[in-house]
Amino acid sequence: MTILVVAEHDNHTLAAPTLNTLAAAHQIGGEVVVLVAGLDVSGVAFAAAQIAGVSKVLMADDAAYARQLPENVAPLVANLGRDFSHVLAPATSNGKNILPRVAALLDVDQISEIISVESADTFKRPIYAGNAIATVQSNAAVKVITVRSTGFEALPAEGGSAPIVALAGARDTGISAFVGEELATSDRPELTAADIVVSGGRGMGNGDNFSHLYRLADKLGAAVGASRAAVDAGFVPNDMQVGQTGKIVAPQLYIAVGISGAIQHLAGMKESKVIVAINKDEEAPIFQVADYGLVGDLFEIVPALTSTL
């Protein structure tokens, strides 16, 4: 078996979910090849080559792949993928965007967001917002899979020295173009990779009140997340949303502040090691999953917690 892993990156750095995806590839077993498609990605390819257990890095360096538009990247991955037993990518917004297009080009069904590898053709994945776990078997010639990074322990980024092979023959389909982007900037750790996450919900009242959570997060070295209610109310940007339709996190410690605990939110955080709930409503469903619950006014509790730490 040979496995192709599509690397997640921003043309400069290899993103952490790639390491979790490689861990899933190792559990499947066999030779693992990493594809880095982008523009000026020699640094990313070099980083990928350093990862233990990577046997080869394929580098597709071309302006056509600069923004990883699926119309251009999917044909590349599909053409390469024919020679592999598995094609894997992290279940990031990029991976979710590109891989189903690859699967359809290969005329196979995809398995989305696996959380465990049972065997080379059998995988587990959550359905119904994580309220059921399906065991799915694929008999496709090429198994196309996205990997939920919180399901797999990241591989160490060092210890390898794989050869890098540059690919030629890029083609721009010309049916789509990048116009612009608006990225949220933050000094705090990335939400999906943080050891501690502090999240706020509708109970925060407004966007300014999130400053209470930022102060607490900075004391803990934590990332700040939010429920859909807080995002929809305009308190914080949508890339902070944790849940079925947002990001999936599984930190060591998750502190839910003013979050009721709807099914859709729990889907994004219930794999956390320790969950703390701070809520004034003691009937809130979040207390049914919280290891430690504190009933009371968050505007008193959060500042008190910040000053105690």
């Binding site: 923004r67 119309e71 917004s93 359905i127 399906a134 694929s138 430690y292 105690t308």
Partner: protein
């Protein structure tokens, strides 16, 4: 332009689903079913495009059981002009649905196809991308804003780090994110009018589509239960527990 919207009948998002005792799947008997929330947003967007004078006709399509007619009627009540049901009984894979939709696209020749980004039952997030691959059209997934600019479509997408805008050649495929719009409610007069709108039923065989899948679900289990912990009385007690008992800070 003609807009095609694909919708799916799923378990209502408020229902707490139960896994069947024989692990064959989730128990859907006597459970409330609704239109998938992301599909509602897709219908709403199409209706808004029509209200702006951009869309001339809205065709809604569902690939699913006969009962999906209910959801198609809902879409008609919300403002769609006519509906197509591709009748299939089995639980379908995303690729099978994409192939059925491709056949409908070939027949209807829409300029824009809008789908939800994912169905809240299978949580696959695949069909729109697969349909784009099969038709060879450009895709604007996880859209939070859609603007027609001449013969192009500008789509603002929700990505991990924030927002990204892409320009797509028409015809194109768009999948909706939650923040694209707020769907309206169907009024009673519109529900009554929707009963008279055309709803065509076709079989996959008529479309020349095979619904076979390369995936097989072996079993469905309940996730490991997480039990409630303890309630602490004060901030000091919470910090003490986190430090000494859970050892996470």
């Amino acid at each position: 332009m003609k807009v095609l919207v694909a919708i799916k009948r799923v378990v209502d998002y408020n229902v707490k689903v139960r896994v069947k005792a024989d692990n064959a799947g989730v128990d859907l008997a006597n459970v409330k079913m609704s239109m998938n929330p992301f599909c509602e947003i897709a219908v709403e967007e199409a209706v808004r495009l029509k209200e702006k004078g951009v869309a001339s006709e809205i065709v809604v399509v569902s690939v699913g059981p006969p009962a999906a007619q209910e959801q198609l009627r809902t879409a008609l009540a919300l403002g769609a002009d006519r509906a197509i049901l591709v009748e299939a009984v089995d639980e379908l894979s995303s690729l099978a649905v994409a192939k059925a939709l491709k056949a409908v696209v070939d027949k209807e020749q829409p300029q824009l196809v809008i789908l939800g980004k994912q169905a809240i039952d299978s949580d696959n997030n695949q069909t729109g991308q697969m349909l784009a691959a099969l038709t060879g059209y450009a895709q604007g997934t996880f859209a939070s804003k859609v603007e027609v600019a001449g013969d192009k479509l500008n789509v603002t997408r929700e990505i991990d780090g924030g927002l990204q805008t892409v320009s797509l050649n028409l015809p194109a495929i768009v999948t909706t994110d939650l923040r694209l719009n707020e769907p309206r409610y169907a009024s009673l007069p519109n529900i009554m009018k929707a009963k008279k709108k055309p709803l065509e039923t076709v079989k996959p065989d008529d479309l020349g589509v095979s619904l076979a899948s390369t995936n097989k679900t072996l079993k469905v289990e309940a996730p490991a239960a997480r039990s409630a912990g303890i309630k602490v009385k004060s901030v000091a007690e919470l910090v003490e527990k986190l430090k000494n008992e859970a050892k996470v800070i």
